[in-house]
Assembly symmetry: C2
C-alpha cells in the first residue's frame, strides 16, 4: 500500500512510519519539517488544504498522527490546537474522500474525561476538558462524520500515553531521566499516585498497521496497554537506574486524572494487544537517551 504518515517526523510518527516500511509498504511522510528517514518526505501544513490534498492524492491509506500533540502547547495556544487538530483533520477527510484513501486517526484515551465507570470502553461518554483532548476528539468526530455521511473509510485509535525512543524532551519520561542523569533531584508534581497505562510506541505502531490493513471502518478503538504505572513508580524506576533524590511539588493544572481504560474491543476487532512490558520499554528509552542525548 501507499501510505502517508502525517506527523511522521515526530516521535510517534517515526515509529509508525518505520513499522509500515518494515512491513513492505511504500511510505511517505507529511510534516512541517523535513524527515531524515529513508522515506519520501513531503513538507507541508495540515491547515493548508492544498498541501494536504496534494500529499494524499495518490495514497491508499493516511495514518493521521500530525497534531499539536504537546498538551502544554495546546493549553497555551488553543487556537493553534483548534486549527491543526480540527481543521487539519477536516482537510485530511476531504483529501482522503477525493483521493479514495482510508484514514487511520490517532485519537487519545483522554477523550473520555472523568470516568463514570471503569474500565472505560468506547461507549463511555466523552467529556474532554482541555484544549488538547477537546480538539483531538473534535478531529476524530469530523473524520467519523465523513465516514457515516459520505463514505470515508475511517478507524480512530484512542491511544494510550505513548512512550519509546525519540520521546519529546518535555515528556515526564525525558524530564525524569534527564534530571536523574544530571544528578539533579526529580520532582513529582502532585503525590505521584496518578497512574497511566503507558503504551509503547512499537505496540501503537502495530495497531496502526493492523487497522490500515483491515477492512474495518467507522469504529473507534481504545489502543492502550493493560498495566497502570504510577508517576511515583516511574520516578522510582528511573532512580533505580540513575540514583538521585525524589521530591514532590504542586500538581499541574490540567493534568488528566487517572482512569482505567479497556482495550478489549481492539483485541476483538483487530486482534491487537500491547506486548512490550513497561520496564522493557523504559530500558529501551533509557538506552536511546544515553546513546542520543
Amino acid at each position: 500500500m501507499r501510505v502517508l504518515v502525517t506527523g511522521g517526523a515526530g516521535f510517534l510518527g517515526r515509529h509508525v512510519a518505520q513499522h509500515f516500511g518494515e512491513a513492505g509498504h511504500e511510505v511517505a511522510i507529511f510534516d512541517q519539517a523535513a524527515s531524515d528517514m529513508e522515506f519520501e518526505s513531503i513538507v507541508g501544513d495540515l491547515v493548508n488544504a492544498n498541501d494536504v490534498k496534494a500529499a494524499v492524492a495518490d495514497k491508499d491509506v493516511v495514518v493521521h498522527i500530525g497534531a499539536i500533540g504537546d498538551v502544554y502547547l495546546a493549553g497555551e495556544q488553543p487556537a493553534l490546537a483548534s486549527s491543526v487538530n480540527v481543521t487539519g483533520s477536516a482537510n485530511i477527510a476531504e483529501a482522503a474522500l477525493a483521493g479514495g484513501a482510508k484514514v487511520v486517526y490517532a485519537s487519545t484515551w483522554e477523550v473520555y474525561g472523568e470516568p463514570e465507570y471503569e474500565p472505560m470502553d468506547e461507549n463511555h461518554p466523552t467529556n474532554p476538558d482541555h484544549p488538547y483532548n477537546i480538539t483531538k476528539l473534535a478531529g476524530e468526530r469530523i473524520l467519523m462524520a465523513a465516514g457515516h455521511l459520505r463514505g470515508l473509510p475511517i478507524v480512530a485509535l484512542r491511544l494510550g500515553t505513548a512512550f519509546g525512543s525519540g520521546l519529546r524532551p518535555n515528556s515526564v519520561f525525558r524530564i525524569f531521566i534527564d534530571k536523574a542523569r544530571a544528578g539533579e533531584p526529580i520532582t513529582i508534581q502532585g503525590d505521584g499516585a496518578q497512574g497511566r497505562q503507558f503504551t509503547h510506541a512499537s505496540d501503537i505502531a502495530r495497531a496502526f498497521l493492523l487497522a490500515a490493513e483491515s477492512d474495518i471502518t467507522g469504529v473507534a478503538l481504545n489502543t492502550i496497554a493493560p498495566d497502570t504505572t504510577s508517576i511515583k513508580s516511574l520516578a522510582e524506576m528511573v532512580v533505580e537506574r540513575f540514583p538521585t533524590e525524589l521530591t514532590f511539588g504542586a500538581p499541574r493544572p490540567g493534568d488528566v486524572p487517572p482512569a482505567l481504560v479497556s482495550a478489549r474491543k481492539a483485541s476483538e476487532v483487530l486482534g491487537w494487544r500491547a506486548e512490550v512490558p513497561f520496564e522493557a520499554g523504559l530500558d529501551e528509552l533509557v538506552r536511546d537517551v544515553v546513546a542520543n542525548g
Copy 2:
C-alpha cells in the same frame, strides 16, 4: 454594559443585538459584513485573532453567536466550519481573557446526538455526528476549558432551533412559506413526523441577556421551548395561511432525529423560559416575509 455581539449581522444576532440595545446596553456588532443596524459595526473575521482581539478589548460581555450556522454549508465545508466554529471560539476565549470580558456562547441542543434518555438535560452524553454540531460543541468546550483552566467567565446556551423574522431563505420555515406564497407545492423531506422544539429568536435573545447580566459562570444551559412541532404540522400551518399542495420526498442525510430536551436548569438558574407560543411566532415570521420578501 459594553457588549459585543459576534455574528450580529445574521438572523439570530440581529434579534440579540436589538434586545441588548433595548435593555440600555452599549452594543457593537462584529461580523464579516457591515451591520445596517443603529449600533457600532465592526467588520472582521473570527478566524483572525487580531480582528477578534481588537473588537473584544474594551467590552464587558461578548455574546458569541458568529459561526457557520448553516448546517448544510457546514456539511459541505467541514474545514470552514472547523475554522470558524472552533478556532474562532478559541480566538474569542483568548481575547476575552485578555480584555476581562465574560462570554455567553451560542451552543445548540444538537450537541447531544442520539438520545439515551428523554427529556435530555445538560448531563446527557454528547454525541454530535455532523460537522455543524461537532464544531459547535468543540467551540463550547474550548470556551468552557478557558473557564475552568484560566478563569474565563463563560455561560453556554444550548439553543433550540431558532425561528423568527429575518430567518435565512434556506431554513425550513422560509422554504415552506416561500413555496406556499408562490402557489408551489411544499415538499416534506421524510414523513414529517420528526419534531423540533422551535424556539423564538426573541425568547433566545432574552436568555442571552439574562446570562450576560447574571453572575453565573461555567455552566451550559439548554435554552429551548417546551413544545414540539412536527415538520408536518409546520407545513400544515403554512398551508392554512397560504393554501397549496403538500407532498413528501426522501429524507435528507444528516438531518438530526427528534429528541426531547429539557430547559429546566435554565429555568432554575436563570429564571428563563420560552414565552412566545409557536403559532404567534409563525404569524410574526409570515408578516415579516410578506412585508420584506
